[in-house]
Amino acid sequence: MSFAEPGFDTGDDNPYDLLAEDHDGGHRWAFGTGFADPLEGVDTSVPDGLDPGALVRFCLALGDDALIYSHRLQQWVARLPELEEETAVANIALDLLGQARMLLARAGGIVGQTEDQLAFFREEKEFRNVRLAEHADADFAELVVRLLLFSTWRLALFESLAGSESRPGAADPVLAAIAAKGVNELAYHRDYAASWVVRLGDGTPLSHAKAQAALDTLWPPAGELFRPDPDALAAVDRDAFDAVLDTVLGTAGLDRPAAAPLAAVAGRAGRDGVHTEAMGYILAELQSIARAHPEATW
């Protein structure tokens, strides 16, 4: 069949005709479906000298941060104040979901599981995301402040993992390539969040009060990003992180809180599988369809 008007020969250059024809045994039922391994064709052997277990745990940590954060952003879609913010937040969620897919595929390839098995069939205590990722934003100020804190940290980490001409990146070339791909995306997320934090902080008394309250609320969970992680292949320099934040907060007229990081539970935090009460609800929504239909394809 063809979507073209009768008499209008589109040749085989019309992608919608190609989509309408079934080349995939019915796996692709709509645009963007029929998911395949996002690392298809990439050399995924683990370099000598690298502990595969540590690499898996680190990829899960970064993949779970992105997966859970993306889910929280998706929950905002259709609730945002303006259409422009809808497309922005949906695009940011999509970028993070893409990063999550590649990171979970990297981890899964080593332990013999697919990205879907890792995303949909792990228990809460097996998820390694920081608790900041699972926070439910109470308002738009929390959305943009949380995104500023998270994307500033993640961008610095990904730059370090990607390496540069003068400095080697992560010892795992697949992780380095995933990080290099994510750097431009995260730079956009950070700029978007920073510009809104300035507009709110330097706006009306009400927007200023809400931005400062959001910062005070989110400062303790953001502190968890800097807990030492023995599996990490790179770390973020706290001073560099603070320098970026001070620039934004100074422009916005907001005060950097002095509150201590969110306490660990018997020495265990998000990376150890200890989460807030919100996490169970997120996983229930994220996983229920896949668990009800374990043979389904997407």
Binding site: M1, S2, A4, D9, T10, D12, N14, P15, D17, L18, L19, H23, D24, R28, F31, G32, F35, A36, P38, L39, E40, G41, V42, E84, T87, A88, A90, N91, L94, D95, L97, G98, Q99, R101, M102, L155, E159, S164, S166, P173, V174, A176, A177, I178, A180, K181, N184, E185, A187, Y188, R190, D191, Y192, A194, V198, A240, V244, T247, V248, T251
Partner: protein, 179 residues
Amino acid sequence: MVAPMARRAPHDDATRRAPAYDVAAATPDPEIPTLTIEDLGILRSVDYSPGRGIVVTITPTYSGCPAMREIAADVQARLNRAGFERVTVATQLAPPWSTDWITREGHRKLAAAGIAPPAPAPRRAGPVPLTLGRRPDSPGCPRCGSPDTALTAQFSATACKSLHRCTACGEPFEAVKPL
């Protein structure tokens, strides 16, 4: 289309790499169909391997680009139709895609479709700078050519585009973000 093409005898793949490249290169991008994947710079190579047949290597524009699967399926279908029976589509992540890889022809087609082509991608040594208060210049209007345009949103209908408005002719338009 859609008159099914008579299936030809399989080519001798090793000697047919160049025609295979032409077939793969003409695959339209699903989200900006006036451009081919070659115009967009996401087709990395077309090779032949005895084990895998024709190997088409593509690279994603953005990590979450939902069009990658479509592109892989379209490339496969087009090559199959052209008589190449064994086709493998592989992903390559490094080096990451940049809008600098959009060809000159790609720029021309974007402008003709009312989408402002990207300026050269920013080059940097060291950490990515914060662009607070230093908004990049808005591109010229692809409809009337006026340089007086304003950014209305940093994101648009697809991850690779931003939204602008021309202050001369009043039309909103999309631009490919330099990256």
